[in-house]
């Protein structure tokens, strides 16, 4: 991995966090706020996973561990919230 | 087909007409029982037959060229089980009437609160009774069940109805009792709730509609 990639990811993280906070202060519509902030958080996590954790260079056999975990969690979350009725 | 279990033995002679929840439950159960016992008999016999039929008569050497079943056998298993389960499942779905709360006029509603260790029944007129649920005969009764402390489960075994009593949440169940009478200890708690769990029991009393209306029916204004 090149230094420029590392720095680039970092720059993106900084911008994303600042955008999140800005959204918090300036976007008043709750739904819009939630959607924007959640998407930014997801994108940050993905960026770290792909670049800093180098998932992009790992074989699929490694990726699968992360993916399975995330998959189960999504199931848990959806059903849990649904069980509130 | 017969019902197993003490509630059946206990009250089968008492009730002339089968309450609707029991009828539905038994209908679903009969299907499951037929399919379940059938499957068990077939599969277990096949196992025992295979084991006995192919017992060693002194041979010690490995058998050569035993058959390997492939995707066809698997597909057959999936299809057969799929059909069995689909029949069973569709019966259950049809039996959801036991769970869905009927939306018809003329029902009565009683609030039930589980506490350590007993049941509190609050009637439409606001009065409450501990340890005894009185309902009118041949009427759809809806219970709003909750708990004031821990997790309990409210169950009337003779009517095949049961629902959790959870703090901070109201769950509903319904039944329609077809026979007047005093059914001692018909109501029990089915969820461990502490040392008094075994004694968390209540009676079910079924009275005539007019008598019930006179005693509990007045809507609290």
């Amino acid at each position: 991995m090149k230094t420029s990639t590392i720095a680039g990811v970092w720059a993106y993280m900084v911008v994303a966090v600042l955008t999140e906070t800005a959204t918090f202060y300036y976007v008043t519509n709750v739904t819009a706020q939630t959607v924007v902030i959640s998407l930014l958080a997801l994108s940050q996590a993905t960026a770290v996973a792909i670049f800093y954790m180098q998932l992009k260079d790992e074989p699929g056999s490694i990726r699968i561990f992360a993916l399975v975990g995330v998959m189960f969690l999504s199931a848990l979350l959806i059903a849990m919230v649904a069980s509130l009725g | 087909m017969g019902r197993f279990g003490a509630s059946f033995l206990m009250y089968s002679g008492v009730l002339a007409a089968t309450p609707p929840t029991v009828a539905t439950w038994t209908r679903v159960y009969d299907v499951y029982l037929t399919l379940g016992v059938g499957t068990a008999v077939v599969v277990i016999s096949a196992l025992l037959y295979a084991v006995v039929r192919y017992r060693s008569r002194g041979q010690k050497e490995p058998v050569q060229g035993a058959k390997q079943h492939g995707w066809k056998a698997v597909l057959a298993i999936v299809l057969v089980m799929g059909v069995i389960l689909a029949i069973a499942g569709s019966q259950t779905f049809a039996g959801f009437t036991n769970i869905e709360i009927p939306n018809s006029p003329g029902t009565v509603t009683v609030s039930v609160t589980g506490f350590r260790w007993g049941w509190n029944f609050t009637y439409p007129d606001g009065q409450y009774v501990i340890g005894d649920l009185t309902v009118p005969v041949n009427t759809i009764v809806i219970l709003n069940i909750t708990s004031s402390d821990v997790y309990h489960t409210f169950g009337i075994a003779m009517l095949d109805v049961k629902e959790d009593a959870i703090p901070g949440k109201v769950n509903q169940l319904w039944f329609n009792m077809t026979e007047m009478g005093n059914y001692t200890d018909a109501i029990r708690c089915y969820q461990l709730c502490g040392v008094g769990h075994a004694f968390m029991i209540a009676n079910l009393t079924v009275v005539s509609q007019s008598q019930w209306n006179a005693t509990f029916g007045a809507q609290k204004g």
Binding site: - | R55, G89, Y190
Partner: protein
């Protein structure tokens, strides 16, 4: 293994006590409070300290033999697994003797009954802490097994060549890996409630927040773990059946690959998608009833495939009626019965009768005791000659089987009919047929227990006096038999022929050169022999145990020793301090061993077949496996938070509580430390040791700053104008503060742990311990640190902004 058997005996005694109590109506042999403790601890001990570990002990012994590994991938971690497991078990058993008694809320620990309000006292706390140690042990253990199986197979052995038992071991540990984090999360919340006074599962009488429903939260978290757990218990037994059946039928397994595909389907997607069938009565929406009814029915299809394939594997064989075969047949019969009962339970309509009744008790004993224990017995008899070099007594084995089978059915069949009797009641009135059925069951219990005396005698007798069995008494072609039998009878090593492979388990040409792990200690217990090389895992576990025991007892009452009185709090505090001391010493020692390379594992890198992992170093594989369990841990906690947020009708607005600009700045600091850590990896990959040190120091400084800011932020929250505390008089604030401190605190703890490791890495770097080609620890730590960063990417917006 002996440890597991010991806990098995404890659990069995509890069960017999209960059966005596229930043998006749209105009995007063056991009081309600003791009965409830017995019923709870019986469940916990049998599941967590007997059944699962028995399977794992077999893995520990056999998997290395079967795949030709010298030992597990991480021997010291294996020792840690064992000691943590033992420490947890001791805490759980000791909790009987502690004020408050052992946990008494059922093995399901439903909330709020299991919380501090309704189960006060240090006893239950201790039980649950013991459970946490056990869960930690399981996580460490599953990482180890996964890495071993994926990475340490002998050359030439492809994954698909692995013996069935090792395959089932792999599936079991994968299920453990993803299931246990959620129980850790669930019990973490229980324990913070009990120890620190958070109110996460508080009942409405304590904490009245409209919409909040602690029972449902617990149900979801517990059963998301609980259902996979029941398969975790079962799978080792099925692995035994799949592995050893061919030795008695003289023909290969039928449909080997289909069996494996079915297990994969069960373990991975399906078992994590059926948990709400335990919640059919909780008032969840009807669509969920329907979805989970169908998903539960679907899970029975792969089980059907497996069972039919086992039956087909008998056809055209030449079946020898040896004890293991009898137990296999018994296990299958009982599983078929229990599984079909499970299908009854999958119907939300029928469950209106069964839930909470003895029918459920009957169901799960058919599958857990029937299928699982009978299957494991088959394995124990079968491998006993391998472990001891001696043959057991065949007639006694058969008698054991017959009496067990009869006793089992006399015990559990009556419970099928008790579908209107609530479970876990300590006594009952003389109603209907309850008295007769319970009486019969108790008789069955004693028959069943009596049969186990036979096996105990048979095992001991075999061990010391049994006739030599020869190296391969069953004529099996499976690789574990190609090494000399272990134990006291010396036998000459055999040269195995690369056989025709009719079992589909090719021993491979190299098998003759494979040597098994040091056998005696393996056979004696689940401890790897590497335990002799390092005592750190033992002291570390002991330290944790002391600390937690102290924490559970704190503050406790005064202690009267003949003359002097020790005031309350002193003794537990002393335990805690001692525990921390021992723990810290072990950790430092462990790291110090590493820095000086004192610990030399079993002969370097053995090389081997590790497709599809040939590119991935062992440590890194282990790290990723571990991180995937961490994903589930944090995910479950964040899930709990989202659940609470969705349920609560009101919630304090973030800006009213937190200093958002400060938190944003702190987030930037942590993210920047992620950047410096990535640069550290970049530096050492180029061989730049000074660069590495510099970036590590930068990471350390940034990480410490993050924690420092966090501490000052928390101090502000504690003492602000309106303190943000779990004990706050405003219920919504109390709840919000509780979940905030737990999740953010756990993240903080991960950062602090990372800082500790950083100290070690910097020290080692300064000594020139890392080079371009040898810097695995750095790479792994970078993974960990990035993971901590990812968690914060979610924590920050979820807790501070939304």
């Amino acid at each position: 293994m002996f440890t597991a058997l010991y806990f098995g005996v404890v659990g069995a005694v509890l069960a017999l006590l209960m059966r005596v109590q229930l043998s006749v109506p209105n009995n007063d042999f056991l009081e309600a409070a003791y009965y409830n403790q017995a019923v709870t601890m019986h469940g916990l001990i049998m599941i967590f300290w007997f059944l699962s570990p028995l399977g794992v002990a077999l893995f520990n012994y056999l998997v290395p033999l079967q795949i030709g590994a010298k030992d597990l991938a991480f021997p010291r971690l294996n020792a840690l697994t064992y000691w943590l497991f033992l420490a947890g078990g001791l805490m759980a058993v000791l909790s009987f003797f502690v004020p408050g008694g052992a946990a008494a809320a059922g093995w399901t620990s439903y909330e709020p009954l299991a919380g501090p309000v309704y189960s006060p006292g240090p006893g239950p706390t201790m039980t649950y802490l013991g459970l946490m140690l056990m869960a930690a042990s399981v996580t460490v253990g599953s990482v180890n097994f996964i890495a071993t199986i994926l990475w340490l197979r002998r050359p030439g052995m492809r994954l698909s060549d692995m013996p069935m038992f090792s395959w089932f071991a792999l599936f079991t540990v994968v299920a453990m890996l993803f299931a246990f984090p959620s129980i850790i999360a669930a019990f973490l919340l229980v324990l913070t409630d009990r120890l620190i006074g958070t109110v996460l599962y508080a009942p409405p009488s304590i904490l009245n927040v409209p919409g909040i429903d602690p029972s449902l939260l617990w149900d979801d978290l517990f059963w998301f773990f609980g259902h996979p757990e029941v398969y975790i218990v079962l799978l080792p037994a099925f692995g035994v059946i799949a592995d050893i059946t061919p030795a008695f039928t003289g023909r290969p397994l039928d449909g080997r690959n289909w069996i494996l595909i079915s297990v994969a389907a069960i373990v991975l997607p399906i078992s994590f998608g059926v948990w709400m069938h335990h919640m059919f009565l909780t008032g969840i929406p009807n669509v969920l009833l329907e979805v989970f009814d169908v998903s539960t029915e679907i899970v029975s299809i792969p089980f059907g495939i497996i069972v039919i394939m086992f039956i087909l594997s008998m056809v055209h064989g030449r079946i020898q009626f040896k004890t293991p075969l009898l137990f296999i047949v018994g296990a299958l019969v009982l599983f078929i019965i229990g599984g079909i009962m499970g299908v009854f339970l999958s119907s939300p309509v029928l469950d209106r009768v069964y839930n909470g009744s003895y029918f459920v008790v009957s169901h799960f004993h058919y599958v857990m005791v029937g299928a699982t224990i009978f299957g494991l017995f088959a394995g124990i008899y079968y491998w006993l000659p391998k472990m001891t070099g001696r043959m057991y007594n065949e007639s006694l084995g058969k008698v054991h089987f017959i009496i067990s089978f009869i006793g089992f059915n006399v015990l559990y069949a009556p419970m099928m009919l008790l579908s209107d009797m609530p479970r876990r009641i300590f006594t009952y009135q003389n109603i209907g047929d309850w008295a007769q059925l319970n009486g019969i069951a108790t008789v069955g219990a004693f028959i069943f227990a009596g049969a186990q005396i036979i096996v105990a005698y048979n095992l001991l007798h075999t061990w010391f006096r049994g006739p030599p069995s020869g190296p391969n008494p069953w004529g099996s072609q499976s690789p574990e038999w190609s090494t000399p039998a272990t134990g006291s009878v010396p036998v000459a090593p055999v040269e195995t022929e690369p056989a025709g492979g009719w079992i589909g388990q090719l021993p491979g040409p190299q098998s003759a050169s494979v040597s098994g792990p040091s056998p005696v200690s393996h056979a004696m217990s689940a401890v790897s022999h590497e335990v002799h090389l390092s005592s750190r895992p033992l002291t570390l576990s002991a330290g944790v145990m002391l600390f937690l025991t102290g924490a559970a007892l704190y503050p406790g009452g005064a202690i009267q020793l003949s003359v002097l009185t020790i005031p309350p709090g002193v003794f537990p505090l002393a335990l805690m301090v001692l525990g921390v001391g021992v723990f810290a010493a072990s950790i430092v020692g462990w790291a110090w061993d590493d820095i000086r390379n004192k610990f030399v594992g079993p002969a370097g890198d053995p090389g081997g077949d590790r497709w599809p992992y040939d590119e991935v170093p062992k440590m890194k594989l282990g790290m990723w496996v571990f991180l995937s369990s961490e994903i589930v841990l944090f995910g479950t906690l964040l899930g709990a938070y989202i659940f609470i947020r969705e349920a609560a009708l009101e919630w304090p607005s973030p800006a009213s509580v937190h200093d958002i600009p400060l938190a944003t700045a702190n987030t930037l600091i942590l993210l920047t430390s992620g950047f410096t850590m990535a640069m550290a990896v970049y530096a050492i990959r180029k061989g730049d040791q000074r660069g590495l040190l510099g970036w590590l120091v930068a990471t350390f400084v940034l990480g410490s700053t993050f924690i420092g800011v966090k501490i000052s932020e928390w101090l502000g929250l504690f003492s602000g104008a309106a303190p943000f505390l779990p004990s706050s008089s405003n219920p919504v604030t109390a709840l919000a503060a509780s979940i905030y401190y737990v999740v953010v605190g756990l993240h903080g703890a991960h950062v602090v742990a990372g800082l500790v490791v950083l100290v070690y890495l910097m020290k080692k770097t300064a000594r020139g311990g890392f080079t371009k080609d040898d810097h695995m620890s750095i790479e792994n730590f970078a993974l960990y640190w990035a993971f901590v960063e990812i968690v914060w990417c979610f924590v920050f917006p979820l807790f501070y902004l939304l």
